[in-house]
């Protein structure tokens, strides 16, 4: 098994090769050997040649995204496989310029308390779009930039799941 990992767009790039429990980790041409063992709670315990031990956990977040938690904190990284192709595609994507069409999605499940706009309305950056209530908190969703509301997928009173499309703004 061999995969490469990218640390944020434009970040460093690390390749890991091997089969359980022994892996080789390469960065900038330097290579380290590590023994990896699954722990009962789903974490992975790594043991390096110098005796260093770190236990951490990986959770998939999206298609190519993995979140790793270790005692030093949490970071997200992108699995790139094969490396070059993905890398360039991500860079192209990042360079493609500002948003043309923005989908406003619910960040958490909740109830739509109020919708301040309708399809066809013009909105300014910072303008109130709607109010979503979750866990006793009212969250005001505001536009990040000016535009026209193309679609309004919800109505006041409706309950929405995390990730649900609320509005589309052009």
């Amino acid at each position: 098994m061999s995969k490469s990992f990218l640390f944020g767009p434009g970040g460093s790039e690390i390749t890991v090769r091997g089969t359980a429990p022994r892996y080789e980790v390469a960065r900038d041409g330097r290579c380290e050997s590590v023994e990896a063992r699954s722990l009962p709670d789903g974490r992975i315990s790594l043991l390096f040649a110098d005796g260093r031990q770190v236990s951490g956990r990986a959770r998939r977040r999206g298609g190519e995204e993995v979140e790793i938690s270790t005692p030093s904190g949490r970071r997200r990284l992108v699995v790139t496989d094969p490396l070059r192709a993905r890398l360039s595609s991500i860079r192209e994507h990042a360079a493609a310029g500002g948003p043309e069409m923005e989908e406003v999605r619910a960040l958490m499940p909740g109830r739509v308390v109020d919708v301040s706009v309708a399809a066809g309305d013009s909105v300014e950056a910072g303008g109130l779009l709607l109010v979503l209530e979750a866990m006793k908190m009212q969250n005001e969703l505001r536009a990040t930039h000016g535009g026209v509301v193309l679609q309004c997928a919800i109505a006041a009173g409706q309950t929405v799941d995390a990730g649900a499309l609320l509005l589309t703004i052009q």
Binding site: M1, K3, F5, F7, I14, T15, V16, A20, P21, Y23, V25, R27, A36, S38, D41, G42, R43, I44, L46, V54, G56, R57, A58, R59, R60, R61, G62, G63, E65, V66, E67, I68, T70, P71, S72, G73, R74, R75, R76, L77, V79, E102, V104, L107, M108, P109, G110, L132, A134, M135, K136, M137, N139, L141, R142, T144, H145, D161, A162, G163
Partner: protein, 498 residues
């Protein structure tokens, strides 16, 4: 003896533990969102209140009393939040023939109305923030007040609230113009131009004193708690004792708190909150007529069981010997663990807790209202529980907090645990240099997000990622609430509620 807790989550669990220690039977109530919650599974009796919304369940006085009647409960404990400081609820309990574990409805009422409590505290000799008792007819009248109280002062709309129409005045030169503008704003916002002035306490700390009174006239103060670490006026981390309160200030604070308690005949566990100014003067803020979220730090340091004591005095017992003779030992810190993501502006993160690894060992206590598999519902306050550490001094408590946070793991929902890990690296926290605004100021710059994970070795991360995938540990179903959160981070920032 049978006690019903009109609450849910960690405080219901906490009170049930006290009941078990006292040999009292327990009655849980639950909404449809909580049938499988830990507080229900540990109770001797349990009664469904209604659907998830609080007004149809935990806030329904009728249904709560009906549940108490059904299960032949003798005592009703309100916990905190919900109906904990509702005089009508306390009165309904009394009239229904139940012993309410808390002060009388009259005491709750007298401390609930700010103006009444301010008046009674002034009469009892408890210092309150100096302020005018009626609207000012002119800038000159305010000037007279300011000369007595000292600048800076704060102009407030008499009909106002929520910070609108408030205006700071640093000296006499600014006064006339400020008065004009404040009055105009008050007219605009509230349709009433009346304005009055209060002394402005700058860079205050939030310090509160724990009191316990019995129904035979006994009352003691069990030191203070430092609650200045707040986010948007919500306490986040609490300590006992305050690192800045000297024995001399403590003695004055305790005297003031006891005077406040005696003035209203306080006969339960309660808290007197003060603003402490940098010059060590302090002012009465309000009295909380309930068991506080942060009571465990006082329990750890003073070696008492406040939840049990509150039930004992409600039953008519005198204050126990160990409460009367309690002495402080060491230092304790509590962290409130919320299902909120500090990296996304503390957005609530409801969902299912897929795994929960609690810390343990010397000086560590975790009071949790959830367990692995628990669903964190949308409908209530998103507090999952509390981590309390105790050490011989503040340095050891902080060290143990760091150790406990290394061991603590909650999966499935985002929590405020990363906030506390970040806090341990803040020199202002370690050296106790903070006031009530400090945390909000530090969070403005997205500080928590920045530090998170920055020290992690990337070789480690990559190796964990691959080994985890090889072992099939990383999970095949991505968590919906986090889908592509990294790339969306920019967008999310812009959408965050104010």
């Amino acid at each position: 003896m049978r006690l019903l807790v009109a609450n849910r989550g960690e405080i219901a669990v906490r009170i049930f533990r006290a009941c078990r220690d006292l040999g009292i039977e327990t009655v849980a109530v639950f909404s449809d969102a909580d049938r499988a919650a830990p507080h229900v599974a540990m109770a001797d009796y349990a009664v469904r209140l209604g659907p998830a919304p609080a007004r149809e369940s935990y806030l329904s006085i009728d249904r709560l009393l009906e549940a108490a009647r059904t299960t032949s409960a003798n005592l009703i404990h309100p916990g905190y939040g919900f109906l904990a400081e509702s005089a009508p609820f306390a009165r309904a309990c009394r009239e229904g023939g139940f012993l309410f574990v808390g002060p009388s409805p009259e005491v709750i009422e007298s401390m609930g109305a700010k103006t009444v409590s301010r008046q009674r505290m002034t009469e009892a000799g408890v210092p309150v923030v100096p302020g005018m008792l009626s609207p000012a007819a002119s800038a000159a009248e305010i000037g007279e007040f300011a000369r007595r109280a000292g600048y800076p002062i704060l102009l407030k709309a008499s009909a106002g609230g929520g910070g609108k129409g408030m205006r700071r005045v640093d000296g006499e030169a600014e006064l006339a113009a400020a008065f004009e503008r404040a009055s105009a704003e008050a007219q605009m916002y509230f349709g009433d131009g009346a304005v009055y002035a209060e002394k402005l306490v700058e860079n205050p700390r939030h310090i509160e004193v724990q009191i316990v009174g019995d129904r035979r006239g006994g009352a003691v103060a069990l030191g203070e708690r430092e609650c200045s670490l707040q986010r948007r006026h919500q306490k986040v981390v609490e300590e006992c004792p305050s690192p800045v309160v000297t024995p001399e200030i403590r003695s004055r604070l305790s005297d003031a708190a006891l005077a406040a308690a005696r003035a209203v005949g306080y006969d339960s566990c309660g808290t007197v909150e003060f603003l402490l100014a940098p010059d060590s003067t302090f002012y009465f803020l309000e009295m909380n007529t309930r068991l506080q979220v942060e009571h465990p730090v006082t329990e750890a340091v003073w070696g008492v069981d406040l939840a049990a004591e509150m039930i004992r005095v409600a039953l008519g017992d005198s204050l126990s010997e160990e409460v009367r003779r309690a002495e402080a030992r060491g230092h304790a810190i509590e962290c409130r663990i919320y299902a909120e993501d500090p990296a996304r502006g503390f957005a609530p993160s409801p969902g299912t807790i897929t795994a929960l690894r609690q810390p343990s060992g010397p000086g560590v206590r975790a009071d949790m209202g959830v367990e692995a598999g628990s669903v964190v519902p949308l409908d209530y306050d998103p507090m999952l529980g509390k981590l309390i550490v105790h050490g011989k001094d503040r340095a050891q408590a902080i060290a143990r907090l760091g150790r406990a946070l290394l061991e603590f793991e909650i999966l499935g929902v985002d929590t405020t645990l990363p906030l506390f890990r970040w806090l341990l690296g803040e020199s202002d926290f370690v050296s106790a240099r903070f006031d009530v605004q400090w945390l909000d100021r530090r969070l403005e710059g997205g500080a928590v997000l920045e530090r998170s994970g920055s020290s992690a070795d990337e070789v480690v991360l990559a190796a964990v990622a691959l080994a985890s995938e090889a072992a099939g540990e990383s999970g095949s179903r991505p968590d919906a609430s986090h889908r592509s959160a990294w790339r969306q981070a920019g967008k999310i920032e812009g959408l965050r509620g104010s």
